[in-house]
Symmetry: C2
């Protein structure tokens, strides 16, 4: 089967400059993929020509007349902008013309349009932003929700556990992924009432086969579990705190290494190590998160990334489409339907 | 005025070994401070003797017959253990016999006992765990709540802003500290309903003189504001995520530097830079957080720290006592009383 990606060329800080550069890079890595490129003729065609992608095999340009900008309110994105590049690209997945859609544009608008056009998988209440974070053992950890849902009730957290479990099985190939809830202590008594309720639901229903209880923020990278589940507010704060810490850490390190000529020389000799280190932590390499739980693969790229970062998000889309992550999730939900209903029904019974 | 510290010698993973070592180190740094040391005779006296602190000037041992352990439930810590080292040390501050109390023991028990014996400052609803985190400009940022309150309503968040503001004025000497709420986006529409409500309260009441709106996790170290306010759940997740990221980062760096002999040599030449870097990020140097908002200075040390780390927390206690952080906070609350009542009264009026 040939994979087709629907790409919103107009989303992100430097679109379509970055998006088309990303496609050019991704095309070399994935020569069999068909890229359907959505955007304004006037700005996209020159970029495609610049990269020698105009009227080429594997690149299909789909002209649109509108663009959703960073400050377009989600409700306006739904009611207006019917011919926007973002909406038309999502529609392609909904119509079965593409296996996945990708945008670096307005997250709120992209989220509601994806929900509107793709709909949630039957049995699931809400999608969650899901991604793989790096870990010490190099295998990565699935983390969700990274920002789709600010307020998450306990039964939805339980669903997020199942979603993460299916993602880990399908993408990481882990047969029985271990799952934990992010909390501020590993003891049963700690944390919010919602977390305690979700834990009780999981324990009573047996919905999560390999549930490991609570995990703390300092264990995110420790490879203790395959999947970490949290609400979108906490997940987003954690993700951005990681980003901030890495930047701060890197800045301090550079500052100290520049202090004396001996340490400058040392840094020069160690430059291959620094480069390898930088590469392993390069945020661009972890770009591309899925709105998991929708009936179609919808990938969000960071709006401020560059061409390489966008190409990484395109690779995530290819990977998820090839692994048929959504079919795997649908099967998982189908087989756990009874247990999920038991979990929901135990709400508030404590 | 001579500062007196009441030290719970029995709290923490390796007590009293670590606590007495910490006192020995702190005593050299603060030769005029009187340390009142609370603990079991049988285990504390040998440690004091080991460090030559037994029957010395500036060290006063107060024998207690009980110890609150790491798994003592907070309610039992209140009802029983009346002669515990933790409780007696807090009582000393309540009785005006010490300027600050410090413990590395059971956080939950220490928190409730501090609340019980010291009480909250009139006008304030709840204490918040408050500390200074390092920043790019080296001046540090005041962050609260780092774990005292899991569920925090909007009016309490507004009080946390005032508390952080007073802390910054008194400890950092900033005349008009800037304050921000931790959120998942800087736009007004983003975030939880509680955060939006708190922001409205602040804007309507003018309670926070230099309010800067919302800030995101990646800005924690950027010196954009003097004070960052959040609920105890989010704050604790953020703090532990920083810890986890620093460990992960350091581990990867060491791994890469060991790969080739050239980079090993480079790392050897740069060792002074690495040492300086390590020192600047040493978590022990940031040990010691205050239960801010109580009528007495109550400092929590990390339970797993070593002697140096405990001595740093003792220095925090000395610093806060010298700066009279609580008197400053009481004055602040007094002068802002009217505005705080206006803020509270605007709850739910939107």
């Amino acid at each position: 089967m040939t994979i087709t990606l629907a790409v919103d060329a107009m989303g992100g800080d430097k679109a379509p400059f970055v998006t088309i550069e990303g496609i050019a890079l991704a095309r070399k890595k994935h020569p069999t993929i068909l890229f359907k490129v959505y955007g304004l003729e006037s700005s996209v065609i020159p970029e495609l020509k610049k990269h020698g992608l105009w009227e080429t095999k594997n690149i299909q340009f789909v002209p649109c007349s509108e663009v959703i900008s960073g400050d377009t309110e989600p409700r306006l994105a739904i009611r207006q902008f019917k011919d926007s590049s973002m909406r038309c690209a999502i529609q392609a997945v909904s119509d079965g013309e593409a296996n996945a859609v990708i945008s670096a544009g307005n997250t709120g608008a992209y989220m509601v349009l994806s929900k509107l056009l793709l709909k949630t998988i039957p049995g699931l209440q809400r999608p969650a932003i899901t991604t793989l974070l790096p870990t010490k053992d190099g295998k990565g950890v699935v983390m969700l929700d990274l920002g789709a849902n600010v307020h998450v009730p306990a039964d939805v957290l339980v669903q997020f556990c199942i979603m993460g479990q299916a993602f880990s099985k399908s993408v990481q190939g882990v047969p029985n992924p271990s799952v934990a809830l992010l909390n501020i202590g590993s003891e049963e008594l700690k944390g919010t009432t919602v977390l305690k309720e979700a834990q009780t639901m999981i324990q009573k229903s047996g919905a999560v086969a390999n549930y490991k209880g609570f995990i703390e923020g300092d264990d995110i990278f420790d490879s203790k579990v395959n999947v970490i589940v949290t609400d979108g507010f906490t997940g987003n704060v954690a993700l951005k705190t990681i980003e901030g810490t890495v930047n701060f850490f890197g800045g301090l390190m550079r500052e100290e290494l520049k202090r004396t000529w001996v340490s400058k020389l040392g840094a020069f000799l160690s430059r291959s190590a620094f480069q390898a280190f930088k590469k392993r932590l390069d945020p661009r390499r972890y770009n591309g998160a899925q709105f998991l739980g929708l009936r179609g693969i919808s990938i969000k790229s960071h709006g401020g990334t560059d061409g390489f970062g966008f190409s990484c998000a395109l690779s995530v889309a290819v990977d998820l489409a090839e692994h048929k992550v959504n079919e795997s999730l649908e099967r998982e939900i189908e087989s756990l339907h009874e247990k999920l209903i038991i979990a929901e029904s135990s709400a508030g019974l404590e």
